[in-house]
């Protein structure tokens, strides 16, 4: 087995543990401490922001423009509209940047 497959298997085991873990562990606690809850609530936004950060550094103005439009769209619309709007903006701005 290669490293990619092993990595996928480990990621799958870790994910399954999160899905079983709430039932097996967290449900036995009547209350979760407020600071633990604050940490748990912050996890997805913190991780995803960190992952997207290099795009802010490396992106040119077409890329940053597309991210801005996507962020604005997500205030008003669902995931799919946001995504298509961001992608279309990116293609448009890159075409304009290429023509300049």
């Amino acid at each position: 087995m290669n490293t990619t497959v092993l990595t996928i298997l480990a990621a799958a085991a870790a994910t399954y543990a999160t899905r079983a873990g709430g039932y097996l562990v967290l449900a036995r606690m009547r209350r979760i401490p407020p600071r633990l809850q604050a940490a748990l609530e912050a996890v997805p936004a913190a991780v995803l922001t960190a992952i997207v950060a290099p795009a802010l550094v490396d992106g040119g103005w077409p890329e940053l423009g597309a991210l801005g439009v996507a962020a604005l769209l997500s205030l008003r619309t669902g995931m799919t509209t946001m995504f298509i709007g961001g992608a279309v903006t990116l293609i448009l701005l890159r075409t304009i940047a290429g023509a300049l």
């Binding site: 480990a10 990621a11 999160t18 039932y23 912050a42 913190a46 922001t49 960190a50 995504f83």
Partner: protein, 236 residues
């Protein structure tokens, strides 16, 4: 039993439609980042959690160390702990093997609809849950396969903007959490820490540095009033 299974499948239709582009995109990006079709399908079938799969693909593409990929997938998927805890009254009614299957099918939409279906703490039947979960699972895994096969055919990913679709997708996900307490400070601090780490130590350390900074801030800020777990999640 059979009719509950059918009702579950029918309830999954809006989910299937809205997840479709992302299922295909995952396959195409997996191929673009060097995974084989079999690996993409394996990833979708075994991890079965869209956002974390996209994170995994992004990190595979930047040749991150395996432990960092696993840790990032785990971090993005950690929210399932809450879902699984909230659905405890349901899981308790099932047999051990039904629980084992049910855990694997516990995705964001599955949780949202199961929580709604079993309103007032009523347990959800396994047939309904399986109908919905199996429909989502089969289509999601097929989309990875189709997306990967088509992804190989795309000659110039940049012209179609494919190289930058993941940041757009992740931005949308970050925005989707904006109702949560302390969202803005968390995002600003993790973003600043990630940029700083990216410019100094370099990739892939920006992921752990940014995530750690954001989570640490959320812990250090004054805590909210303690709420019982089940109420807190039901309010979402």
């Amino acid at each position: 039993m059979v009719s509950d299974f059918r009702v579950g499948i029918r309830a999954s239709v809006p989910v299937l439609v809205s997840a479709l582009p992302f299922g295909l995109l995952f396959g195409a990006l997996a191929a673009d980042n060097g995974l084989t079709t079999a690996e993409a399908v394996l990833f979708s079938a075994l991890v079965f959690a869209g956002a974390s799969q996209m994170v995994g693909i992004e990190l595979f593409g930047s040749h991150a160390l395996p432990w960092l990929i696993v840790a990032s997938v785990f971090a993005v998927n950690f929210r399932h702990v809450l879902y699984s805890a909230v659905l405890t009254p349901t899981f308790r009614q099932w047999s051990a093997w039904q629980r084992a299957v049910g855990f694997h099918l516990l995705t964001d939409p599955q949780f949202a609809l199961a929580a709604k279906h079993g309103e007032a703490g009523k347990p959800v039947g396994f047939a309904w849950y399986l109908g919905m979960g199996a429909a989502i699972f089969v289509t999601w895994v097929s989309e990875a396969w189709i997306g990967a096969e088509f992804g190989k055919l795309i000659e110039n990913p940049r012209a179609l903007g494919i190289d930058f679709l993941l940041p757009i997708y992740f931005t949308g996900l970050v925005m989707s959490f904006r109702q949560r307490a302390r969202w803005l400070p968390t995002v600003l601090v993790s973003g600043a820490a990630a940029v700083a780490a990216y410019l100094t130590v370099g990739s892939p350390w920006h992921v752990s540095a940014g995530a750690a900074a954001g989570i640490a801030l959320a812990v250090l800020l004054p805590p909210p009033a303690s709420t019982p777990l089940l109420q807190a999640e039901a309010a979402h």
